[in-house]
């Protein structure tokens, strides 16, 4: 069993001492008939085992595209990775040939999608779809694969797993379906799990169940978790560090406590001020004026400058602000971060 695993998992050049996952200067663009949409413009972050990194941003900020680029499931064309590195334990997976890339996927880096109903195949049973992983990646027989599938469904706490393994996705409720997705992502013991809006489609009570399950499994397996979301509440509950993305750039990266108490980028600050809170009866909500820029036409300088209250002339000119070091483990792409932090 272990031999099979080793044989199927081997990725040449892996250095166990290198950082678990490191994304450097990632650029992704979509070449469409209406122009080139620059979806990701220099994303940088690093993930350690057991760590939860949240990528926070609004729709169209490039967070899901970043995840797809890391997984190697970008639609290409029209999507192209134009620059940057994604290093898993020192190996740049973007440079791997497709057959080796396939081994990394699911074995080392796995992903959970937002909408479990459309991510699962409606014409196969969940047992078949889970078992497929073991048959393809581990060369198991159908019977063994089914046995493992039942174990997995049990681990994600699906009641009566043995009898539900032959059910089709539509026979499960939303929360149960998301559990099936988690089981599928964890099947081959990945070290990195990317969860793209895992609970957005679920009710709050079910969301609490799923986030609890994810945290538990992460502890058991020493996984690094990248949580992609727009929900500032969920992030506050589970993340260790946060990367806030805006127009394809990580505008602020900081430990979770720092960013909520003293944000250093005006966008992060404005986002925090614009959410109504359950434990406070609201005044007028502060509003971020205007709209996010079209990715085909990102303004020069800082992409946030047209909506920013701190913007001055320097913000409207190229080059865009570099990631200034706010503290040892904290960066912000704002010329005036000192002013923002102290306000």
């Amino acid at each position: 069993m272990t031999d099979i695993k080793a044989e199927f998992e081997a990725v040449p050049g892996v250095d166990p001492n290198a950082p678990l996952l490191e994304v450097t200067d990632l650029h992704v663009e979509f070449r469409t008939q209406y122009g080139v949409a620059k979806a990701v413009n220099g994303a940088n972050f690093r993930l350690a085992p057991r760590e939860t990194l949240a990528i926070l941003g609004e729709s169209g900020c490039g967070k899901s595209v970043t995840a797809q680029a890391i997984m190697g499931i970008l639609d290409s064309p029209p999507g192209f990775i134009t620059r940057g590195e994604v290093r898993y334990r020192g190996v740049d997976v973007l440079k791997l040939p497709e057959n080796e890339r396939r081994r990394v996927r699911a074995n080392q880096i796995a992903m959970i999608f937002q909408d479990a109903l459309s991510a699962l195949n409606p014409v196969f049973t969940v047992g078949f779809q889970l078992g497929e992983l073991f048959r393809m990646h581990r060369g198991m027989s159908r019977a063994d694969a089914k046995k493992r599938s039942i174990e997995l469904l049990d681990q994600v706490k699906i009641p009566a797993a043995a009898s539900r393994v032959n059910d089709f996705p539509h026979q499960f409720s939303g929360g149960m379906r998301q559990r099936v997705m988690i089981a599928m992502a964890l099947a081959l013991d990945p070290e990195v799990l990317i969860a793209d809006e895992p609970t957005t489609a679920l009710d709050v009570t079910v969301q609490a169940q799923i986030m609890g399950l994810l945290a538990e499994l992460q502890q058991q397996r020493n996984m690094g978790l990248i949580l992609i979301t727009h929900d500032m509440g969920v992030v506050a509950d589970v993340a260790d560090r946060i990367s806030v993305m805006y127009a394809g750039k990580v505008v602020e990266e900081a430990p979770v406590y720092d960013i909520y108490s003293r944000p250093a980028h005006p966008y992060a600050k404005a986002l925090l001020e614009s959410i109504p809170r359950l434990d406070m009866k609201g005044q007028q909500l502060s509003v971020i004026k205007g709209l996010p820029p079209a990715l085909t036409n990102i303004p020069p300088g800082c992409p946030f400058n047209p909506r920013c209250g701190y913007a001055r002339d320097v913000c409207r000119q190229d080059p865009p602000p570099p990631p200034y070091t706010v503290a040892a483990d904290r960066t912000a792409r704002c010329h005036f971060w000192e002013e923002v932090v102290s306000s």
Partner: protein
Amino acid sequence: MSDIVLETKDLVKHFPITQGIVFQTQVGAVRAVDGVNIELRRGETLGVVGESGCGKSTLAKLLVGLEKPTSGAINVRNQNMVTLKGGELRRARRNIQMVLQDPYTSLNPRMTVGDIIGEPFEIHPDVAPKGDRQRKVQDLLDTVGLNPEHINRYPHQFSGGQRQRIGIARALALRPEIIVCDEPVSALDVSIQAQVINLLGALQDELGLSYIFIAHDLSVVRHISDRVAVMYLGKIVEIGNDEEIYEKPTHPYTQALLSAVPVPDPTLRGLRDQIVLEGDVPSPANPPSGCRFRTRCWKAQSICAEQEPLLEPRPNSPHPSACHFAEVRDVISAVE
């Protein structure tokens, strides 16, 4: 008394489940809304919260007359909307309009903004004479913060937040007293969501509107509502003003729901009182006997299966709560 603009009495909607192709026989019913009583006063916002499948959207459709109730009454200005017919019904409907959830699918992509917002005037021609319509539509665009010159644009030329403003302008066209908002901000990003919530608040002050505000996001509902009703499986389980529901909830379901909402403050991590419910909402086609929440409730005893708890004030609950063991438990500020 006269300031009550909307009132429902034992409102029930059962969707039949049929079997057979040629000879269809009814084998059951989905009890989407099962005996709902609400009152809405002038200038007030009543929030309705609950999980998906609890019947909140069906309630919205019943209120605006998109579904016919199985039984019960909906009184708007002392007229029962359920029994009205023809021209009288059409005129009465002007008073209660709706803002829909998804601004991407609720606007016809082939109609211009002017046609979309002006369509209510086509159906109710006596509200605005033909020559006057364009000016009225432009006024409406201005009211919701859009450029009146964009009257000939199509929905795809607007962003999500702007489209939701178009939806609001359409609801305002007939100068209703009541607007039913069915998840009006759940499809929008947070920064845009705040703009729309503020707009709804400003319109209420300006025009004296009453809102039924349906949402699953409890923080948004708290922000905008004066009173809140919590629904579970077609029934209201607790109703009260904002402080009663959020700070002194007495129904176990309300408590669980509130405790499950993540609070955007990492310093509270692990300190909040978290109640994690097991399992899923039971099927509304076959709800549990007695109290419908008892299958997921940690307080459930034999009386809960036998006797249905009524929505009424109780010894330990000054506001109406449908639980035999209602008791105040503060779950959101319980941080020690």
